[in-house]
């Protein structure tokens, strides 16, 4: 008898070392809480959010198709909009979108059959959340974008390189501290996590559980 296969986060083996308490979402085990996380979050916390529901779509008709699904898309490329309480949609270019949160789930089924100008983009990302007052220092050590100059009220999304890896970054805040989402290719996830963790540890931070991260970023 075949049991339901389990999805594996690209960071699971690395999180294991921190002896987390595990949760299960989207058929993927994730680190819900990590011992000592409360102290770290006062400086800088790194969480694995790879388990979160995610859907990608692109193509000249992608925006129209999303609108038909009840999802309003940002007017400007490289910006994002909140959806329901736990979801948001990011516009990654002229015609590419990322939806994360519960709103992503029904889209997987609705995308088939194929429609002209609407192309699904399977999102098997490694997703790392950065949370805490030292986030900017971590970014300064790994990324050459001036995040301090961004207007968070405009809900920017930044496609750039971090520690040599192509990433998408959604800068936001949580309780007046920076709260950033970082997405990268699944296969670069372990490298990026190790690199960020090493620097974060030097800054007094470290791994935290996903439960400390809000479902939705705040723009200011």
């Amino acid at each position: 008898m075949i049991t339901a296969p389990r999805r594996i986060s690209p960071l699971q083996d690395l999180m294991q070392a921190h002896q987390p308490s595990w949760g299960l979402a989207g058929n993927m085990q994730y680190a819900q809480a990590v011992p000592g996380e409360e102290a770290r979050i006062a400086r800088l916390g790194l969480a694995d959010l790879s388990h979160r529901p995610r859907f990608g779509v692109k193509g000249p008709q992608a925006a129209n198709w999303l609108a038909a699904q009840g999802i309003a898309t940002p007017a400007q490329p490289n910006s994002w909009l909140p959806l329901d309480t736990d979801s948001f949609v990011a516009r990654l270019g002229l015609t590419e979108f990322l939806i994360e949160g519960a709103a992503a789930d029904p889209l997987h089924a609705n995308i088939e059959p194929a429609r002209p100008g609407v192309y699904p983009v399977p999102r098997e990302d490694a997703e790392i959340a950065l949370l805490g007052p030292q986030v900017n220092e971590l970014l300064l050590q790994t990324c050459n974008v001036n995040f301090r100059a961004l207007d968070l009220a405009a809900r920017p999304v930044v496609l750039t390189s971090m520690a040599g890896v192509t990433v998408t970054i959604l800068p936001g805040s949580h309780h007046n501290d920076p709260f950033y989402h970082v997405w990268c290719d699944y296969t670069f996830g372990a490298y990026l996590w190790r690199t960020l963790l090493e620097i974060s540890t030097g800054l007094g931070g470290g791994p935290i559980g996903a439960a400390l991260c809000p479902e939705q970023p705040q723009p200011s």
Binding site: I2, T3, A4, P5, R6, R7, I8, S9, P10, D13, M28, S50, K58, G59, A114, P116, G117, Y119, P120, V121, P122, R123, E124, E137, L140, Q141, T142, C143, N144, N146, R148, A149, A163, G164, V165, D185, Y186, T187, F188, A190, Y191, L192, T195, I199, G202
Partner: protein, 967 residues
């Protein structure tokens, strides 16, 4: 020497004593001292030995503008003692000595100096026979600190930073500039290499500590200003394009990107040139003032001041205030204009000697410092009247004869400097957009004018950024030149040093010019002036004046040498720093590690080369893996392959244009080998194209080509404007190849898909569930056995692997690595792009002519391949085998094929074939040898030849029976 009573604003913390040792003797000083200030306060006069003649050296600039005091502390070598903060427990030693600083046996070289003239090194090397001797000797004699290869590796952080306006230099001008820009709303960063702001405004006081009040207020304003960030003890080490400045701090390097840059770096005070001007106790006025006001150290007991400017008189007053007995002020100028200061000095009993020079400093009895100085008048043409010498017994000389702008950053930014004859200084002529200069580097020396000039620069920077109107500030010119045009005194006995780094005397320059090295760049290289660790900060200006006078040119005509980063030395640890080397791991990496995989790099990936088992060696493990695939079932991670998806009405058309074969006629549910060429018809990539629907393709690329191919196809898709969308799934999908005669049985346990040859033929593609995971399955035969390439979402990769290995346990399934795969594919004659092809290989060369469809309307490389198709290829990829009895060293990849004494090809792949019981390989050979049965000779690394026979490929299963069901 003596520690003075507390000075207003001193940098030392008298509540914290620091103990350290120097050359084996223990000392105590205070936190905040530099190594040099601590030693000078302790009465140590000889801080180092000179590079060439091993002459004793003390404090000269106390600012890292000379290298009199370079030291070693454990593994830390070439520490600049002038600016290195003293640390508790430091064990310091001098460098470049034979037996320590005090008893340096190398001082004998000072007596041999007549035999070591300028250009000695170059001339010595002219004799080829003696070259090795000199080389050995010079290598032993030169070099400074000792490198300890066992020193711990420091991983220094690198970081980025950003600001609107970067102000380099925290002196009066820089501080004023920062405030002016900040008041206009700019985000300002001020960097200063010292631990405190204020610059010369806090030590050039003329004996009046109240004179610093204004600057202290300015410092307070800057420190408290909300949009000014202050970074002290931070060096702006260079300038790169687009206002990119590396900022070096002791524990990290920051790459600062600024909207505008204000260079307020001040100037380097220049020494006077006279005999024995390098004796300990001879120092620049600014050095003496820094010792007094920053470190509360009396620089000497009694002194003669050599001046040529207002600053020299201020220094004399500072010395007096510090309790130094100032015997005289010798002024190179006949008519000094500083009447107020002269009166103050006369009132203190100081002899004022206008139109006088310092002819010679005499060593004390111990030979470790100044014992007296000889002063004499100057003729109207500047010649010393040696017959009218006055002797002053003193232990110190303070020089204030001029400045050179600290303009390194301006030069590096592409600024043009001009020589201002009135100032006797190079000043900015034309600066690049967004780069501004103020203060002494801009030729402004009067304290009030510096602040005005700073305001002007700050407003100009704000205006450049659109935050203010252009400033309408006019800075008054200097009342008198702060720099003397000829602070140089000839002496028949020499030892009047122009470059203290390299022990270059005045006569050395004259000799160089006589020998024809009469332009600044040639003279620099011949004399090595400015090529020492100070990079000419204290020597270039005087060298330039000497050359200008000798060649009867103006300093501007002589010009300056090129200023390159870095301004000061930057530790290698900062440059190496923390490196980022992105590494990709497939979703199955942990599974491989658990199976004892021996990993090998493949571009950014780590892939299992083979799996170690028990005591078996590498070769045995690989052969076992090969055997498992040939006889049972094996599984390999092929997730590193590039994986692309193409959807849309024009998807087939896109592939028709990209690949050399035809895909419009590919049936849904089938795959086809795909070769990609560039415009010149050279093979650049290969893979498999699978048609999942009429408008839906899924295709693979090579591991190494994935990123570039996706980038190029995206570009082409944009350019061609076809109605299709391309998606890169390389990292989003895991993939394995389940291969071997038992593979179907293994897979059958995990899927409901009909796996019969009729339902799922060779080269077919299906979408089905495997172990409950949605998968794309391709029946391909890269390794020459019945098999399935199974692609699933990356997060399901481990579950798929677990299910397959569990299902295959009963069949003896074995994971196999890259090395086994290479052997298996070689037996099948399949090529690897990049190994069996190179940057000139066409499909015709590589026996892929069958794939080229020249009758298509268009594909990339088609036009070139049409030309190639009409010619016989110059070389051809062929298979070859060694004799089965060959048991000596086999050839290796890249070994050459020799025919009639000429190179006739090369081996691209070779390996042992278990199936054939002999070595098999692929090689490019000339057309004459590209026929079955031809004998070729392969030359090994040792020059011997190995005979091989050209044969058909595939070597294994030429009829492809392994892909067919048994009847």
């Amino acid at each position: 020497m003596k520690r003075l009573p507390p000075q207003t604003g001193e940098w030392i913390d008298r509540s914290r004593e620091v103990s350290f040792s120097f050359e084996g003797r223990r000392y105590t000083a205070f936190a905040g001292d530099t190594v040099s200030s601590a030693l000078w306060a302790a009465g140590v006069r000889v801080l180092g030995r000179s590079f060439k003649y091993h002459r004793p050296r003390g404090v000269l600039s106390l600012a890292n503008h000379d290298i009199n005091a370079m030291m070693q502390a454990g593994p830390m070598l070439n520490l600049r003692a002038d600016v290195t903060p003293l640390e508790h427990g430091m064990a310091l030693e001098g460098i470049n000595t034979y037996g320590g600083i005090a008893r340096d046996r190398g001082r004998l070289l000072d007596r041999l100096s007549p035999f070591l003239p300028v250009g000695f090194y170059y001339k010595a090397f002219h004799n080829k026979r003696l070259f090795p001797l000199w080389e050995k000797m010079f290598r032993r004699m030169t070099g400074l600190g000792k490198l300890d290869l066992a020193a711990p590796h420091i991983r220094t952080a690198k970081r980025y930073d950003f600001c609107d306006v970067l102000v380099v230099g925290g002196g009066p001008a820089g501080l004023s500039a920062a405030l002016a820009a900040a008041e206009r709303g700019c985000d300002v960063v001020v960097v200063d290499e010292h631990p405190h702001l204020g610059g010369s405004g806090l030590y050039r006081l003329g004996g009046d500590t109240d004179a610093a009040q204004d600057i202290r207020r300015l410092v307070g304003q800057v420190m408290g200003y909300p949009n000014i960030r202050v970074k002290t003890a931070t060096l702006a080490a260079g300038y790169y394009a687009d206002h990119w400045i590396p900022l070096v701090k002791h524990d990290h390097l920051a790459k600062m990107r600024a909207g505008a840059v204000i260079v307020a770096t001040g100037s380097y005070e220049q020494p006077a040139v006279f005999r024995n001007n390098d004796l300990p106790g001879v120092m620049l006025a600014s050095a003496a003032q820094r010792l007094i006001h920053r470190y509360a150290v009396r620089p000497m007991r009694s002194a003669v001041v050599l001046s040529a400017n207002r600053e020299g008189y201020l220094a004399a007053l500072d010395l007096l205030a510090a309790g130094v007995r100032v015997l005289a002020v010798a002024d190179l100028r006949a008519n000094a204009v500083e009447a107020d200061l002269r009166d103050a000095l006369l009132a203190r009993g100081v002899a004022l000697l206008p139109g006088h020079c310092l002819y010679e400093a005499l060593p004390n009895d111990a030979g470790d410092g100044v014992g007296a100085v000889l002063v004499c008048p100057l003729d109207s043409d500047g010649t010393p009247r040696a017959e009218q010498i006055n002797r002053f017994d003193c232990d110190g000389v303070v020089m204030s004869v001029g400045y050179a702008p600290a303009a390194n950053l301006l030069y590096q930014a592409g600024g043009r400097m001009r020589f201002d004859a009135a100032l006797q200084q190079f000043v900015p002529g034309q600066l690049p957009a967004g780069v501004f200069a103020c203060g002494e580097v801009n030729g402004v020396f009067m304290p009030a004018n510096k602040q005005l000039d700073g305001q002007r620069a700050g407003l100009a920077a704000a205006a450049f950024l659109g935050r203010a109107a252009p400033p309408a500030i006019s800075v008054p010119p200097e009342a008198a030149s702060p720099s003397h045009p000829w602070p140089i005194v000839a002496h028949p006995k020499g030892k009047n040093f122009v470059d203290l780094d390299e022990d270059i005397q005045l006569k050395d320059f004259h000799h160089a010019i006589q020998e024809g090295f009469d332009n600044i760049e040639l003279m620099k290289r011949y004399t090595t002036v400015g090529m020492g660790p100070s990079q000419g900060k204290h020597s270039n200006m005087n060298a330039l004046r000497i050359l200008a006078r000798a060649t009867q040119q103006s300093p501007e005509q002589v010009g300056t040498t090129t200023a390159r980063p870095f301004v000061h030395p930057v530790p290698m640890s900062h440059l190496a720093g923390r490196g980022f080397t992105p590494q990709r791991l497939t979703p199955l990496h942990a599974r491989h590690a658990a199976l004892n995989a021996q990993f090998m790099p493949a571009g950014p990936w780590l892939r299992p080369e083979y799996y170690r088992r028990g005591d078996s060696d590498r070769l045995a493990c690989i052969q076992e893996e090969v055997a498992a695939v040939r006889n049972g079932v094996g599984i390999i991670d092929v997730g590193t392959l590039g994986k692309l998806e193409l959807r849309g009405p024009d998807a087939a058309e896109f592939l028709e244009r990209v690949y050399i074969s035809r895909y419009a006629n590919l049936k849904v549910g089938m795959t086809r080998y795909a070769v990609m060429c560039d415009e010149t018809g050279v093979v650049v990539d290969d893979g498999v194209v699978a048609r999942l629907g009429e408008e839906h393709f899924y295709f693979t690329t090579t591991t190494s080509g994935a990123t570039n191919i996706y980038r190029e196809l995206s570009r082409l898709n944009t350019e061609w404007r076809l109605d299709c969308g391309l998606t890169n799934l390389t990292g989003a999908r895991a993939a394995v190849n389940l291969a071997g005669p038992r593979s179907r049985e293994v897979l059958a346990r995990l899927t409901d898909l009909d796996l019969s040859a009729a339902a799922f033929p060779y080269l077919g593609v299906r979408q089905a569930s495997v172990a409950g995971i949605p998968a794309i399955l391709m029946r391909v035969g890269f390794v020459g056995e019945w098999g399935y390439e199974i692609h699933v979402p990356a997060s399901y990769g481990p579950a798929l692997w677990d299910a397959l290995t569990e299902a295959g346990r009963a069949f003896g399934i074995r994971p196999f690595g890259v090395e086994a795969q290479r052997q298996l594919r070689l037996e099948k004659g399949h090529i690897i792009i990049g190994q069996d092809t190179d940057g000139l290989t066409t499909p015709f060369d590589a026996n892929l002519g069958w794939a080229v469809k020249l009758d298509k309307p268009f594909f990339i490389g088609q036009r070139t391949l049409r030309i190639h198709a009409e010619r016989a290829p110059k070389q051809q990829l062929v298979g070859f085998t060694l004799d089965s009895a060959h048991n000596a060293t086999p050839p290796k990849e890249c070994h050459l094929i020799i025919h009639a004494g000429e190179i006739a090809g090369r081996v691209t792949s070779i390996g042992w074939s278990t199936a054939l019981g002999r070595h098999v390989g692929l090689a490019y050979v000339i057309h004459d040898l590209a026929w079955e049965g031809a004998h070729i000779n392969i030359r090994l690394s040792n020059g011997s030849l190995v005979s091989a026979t050209v044969c058909k490929t595939p070597f294994y299963d030429p009829e492809n029976l392994r892909q067919k069901e048994a009847a």
